[in-house]
């Protein structure tokens, strides 16, 4: 499989702080890749660089051969990268359906003038967007909550709604930032299965930031470990799990070589 995303020597500095330090990183198409590391390791910063929130200070970033470093978020979505947020960022006072319909924004074309004239194309587009959004709500199991305000949904449903909204942008690469944060073991297991389904059924490539090692080890084909902004280790879950450097980063010196790393 070719690599859908290639990062070379990507660096991000905030003043004197180097949040991401010369990271080389690739994501093979159709895979589930995880990014792990202790708190403050630079995972989310790296994520935000890919998603267009930050401009990298150095290095290059290409998506399907197109350089994306420094592009705006909306341009990156249009190219086919969608994301969710670590702390859920839904449009709280919009309904679940409206939330997903906003996700269709990048794939719609109607200008305000067409909206004023209610042209046939505009009406067809609106109708199609609503139909597709309802379909996605069905897909994530929120059919009954379409007209509910996002903020009134239970936590787990909000997480799923955020994923539905991201899929609505027709991405090829889906970035999930700690999707199981705050979930109980049953919910976590269900979401893990769901992520695998996304990859298998929708042919998505998934990049995951995750703290829950059972999720990471269960579904990722490859794991990359960041520490202090730099890449510490990379490999299959099995390899990474036994890497003394990783164990040391998580548990401190002395723990290395004695046992496997616990949930981070």
């Amino acid at each position: 499989m070719p690599d859908i995303l290639v990062a070379e020597q990507v660096t991000k500095r905030f003043g004197g702080l180097v949040a991401v330090d010369k990271v080389d990183f690739t994501i093979p198409q159709g895979s589930i890749v995880s990014l792990i590391g202790p708190n403050g390791a630079g995972k989310t910063t790296f994520f935000n660089i890919i998603a267009g929130l930050y401009t990298p200070t150095g290095g290059t970033l290409t998506f399907r051969g197109i350089p994306i470093g420094g592009k705006r978020s909306d341009q990156i979505v249009a190219l086919g990268i969608a994301r969710t947020f670590q702390n859920i960022r839904l449009f709280a006072n919009m309904t679940a359906l409206e939330n997903v319909m906003v996700g269709r924004h990048a794939r719609m074309k109607a200008s305000p003038f067409e909206a004023w004239l209610h042209t046939r194309r505009e009406r067809a587009e609106e109708k199609a967007a609503e139909a597709r959004s309802r379909e996605l709500l069905d897909y994530v199991g929120l059919t009954a909550s379409a007209e509910e305000f996002a903020k009134n949904l239970p936590y787990g449903d909000q997480r799923r709604l955020e994923i539905a909204r991201a899929i609505a942008t027709d991405p090829q690469l889906l970035l999930l930032d700690e999707p199981t944060a705050g979930m109980n073991p049953q919910e976590t297991a269900a979401l893990t299965r769901f992520i695998r389904r996304l990859r298998d059924e929708l042919k998505l490539t998934v990049l995951l930031i995750e703290h829950d090692m059972s999720v990471v080890m269960g579904i990722s084909e490859r794991v990359t470990v960041l520490n202090h902004g730099a890449k510490l280790a990379e490999g299959t879950p099995h390899q990474v799990q036994r890497d003394p450097a990783v164990i040391e980063a998580y548990l401190g010196r002395g723990a290395a070589g004695t046992s496997e790393p616990a949930a981070g």
Binding site: D74, F85, F91, H105, A115, E126
Partner: protein, 371 residues
């Protein structure tokens, strides 16, 4: 049930439309003499609808909205007045009105562009500054604008119907219909946008800019469009105001106008188009008509009861104080405004239900403990 609702809504619209069209005749027959006073009220409605796009839909707090009103009015002044210092002037009113809306829209972009990165309080301060600068510039460039003297007279619209030529003059009737038509058009245009792709993008941006951008909303164009559309509504209103009043001067466009229009949309129900229209009617007519009427009523009451303080109490003089108190009360009792959108209501009453539930749960527990 949906159909019934739609029919009922249509009936209400139709009744309102008939009333609005028939109002001049009702006014004449009953000898109310209110027609002239409805014109500023209707203008306020157009202003409120425009500001609602910026503040209500897109969530950009604009405190300098009157500046665009001034820009629209002065554009028409420059283009149509005999007194204008432009080399090419005495243009017909209609093209001048369109140009005024366009110029105001362009100024909307000019104000919007440098403030794109600002939000909330910071944006409010910059727009406030802009709202102060525009009248100041007008005041201090008498070579172009005649400063505080203002520009007068201003060209009036005219149109030919067959052989007959109509000229808008002192008679309020044609102005009334013109303004009503533009207000209706404004309602139509903003409603269509609210329910379209751009309306959802505005809403999403108001809720969470970062998330909106991550869903493909181009923040730059979406914000600028809101700014310039709102501004061009204001420019339209300014153009008509200038033509109707025949005299424009900087003090007509000071900060209090911006605040007054903002109060209308807050009182009516920010984000809700019909709420905003009603807010405009309520505050506009309070300002222009009701305060006087109430004053008369209070005087009558004072005379009747022999209370001297009431007989001499001038409501008009205290109208802003009354308005202020009314707003404070309203914001405490009904922060979402009189006629809120479902969304805004949900936003401002978040957790009310859960508090009730918690309270009930607590009660049940307590009751159980007793039995």
């Amino acid at each position: 049930m949906k159909r019934e609702g739609r029919e009922r809504r249509l009936a209400i619209y139709l009744a309102a439309l008939i009333f609005v069209i028939a109002f001049p005749f009702i006014d004449k027959t009953l000898g109310l003499g209110l027609l002239g006073k409805t014109i500023p009220v209707a203008l306020f409605i157009i202003l409120a609808l425009g500001l609602n796009v910026v503040v209500g839909f897109a969530g950009l707090l604009d405190l300098g909205y009157a500046a665009f009103f001034a820009i629209g009015a002065y554009t028409v002044g420059f283009l149509t007045s005999q007194a204008s210092k432009l080399p090419y002037h005495e243009l017909d009113f209609w093209p001048a009105m369109i140009v005024a809306a366009l110029v105001a829209g362009i100024f909307g972009v000019i104000l919007g562009a440098p403030t794109l990165r600002l939000r909330g309080d910071y944006l409010a301060i910059v727009t406030l500054g802009f709202g102060e600068i525009v009248p100041l510039v007008i005041r201090n460039t008498p070579d172009v604008t005649y400063g505080i003297l203002g520009i007068s007279p201003i060209g009036t619209p005219q149109f030919a119907l067959g052989d007959a030529k109509f000229r808008f003059g002192i008679d309020s009737l044609p102005w009334y219909y013109l303004i009503i038509a533009i207000a209706a058009l404004s309602i139509f245009l903003t409603t269509r946008l609210r329910d379209a792709r751009i309306g959802r993008a505005w809403m999403a941006m108001r809720e969470d800019e970062v998330a909106a951008a991550s869903m493909g909303v181009n923040l730059v164009t979406t914000k600028l469009f809101a700014f310039s559309l709102g501004a061009s509504f204001s420019g339209f209103a300014g153009a008509i105001w200038a033509g109707y009043l025949q005299q424009i001067s900087p003090e007509q466009f000071d900060f209090s106008v911006s605040v007054f229009v903002l109060c209308m949309i807050i009182l009516g129900g920010i984000g809700n188009i019909w709420g905003v229209v009603l807010g405009g009617i309520i505050l506009g007519s309070f300002d222009r008509v009701l305060a006087e009427k109430i004053s008369g009523g209070v005087h009558g009451l004072g005379d009747l009861l022999g209370i001297n303080a009431l007989s001499t109490f001038d409501v008009v003089q205290f109208k802003f104080a009354i308005l202020g108190i009314a707003l404070v009360v309203l914001m405490n009792v009904r922060p979402e405004g009189l006629f809120p959108s479902r969304r805004r209501k949900a936003e401002l009453h978040a957790g009310d239900d859960s508090i009730v539930e918690e309270h009930q749960a607590h009660e049940t527990l307590y009751d159980k403990g007793r039995t």
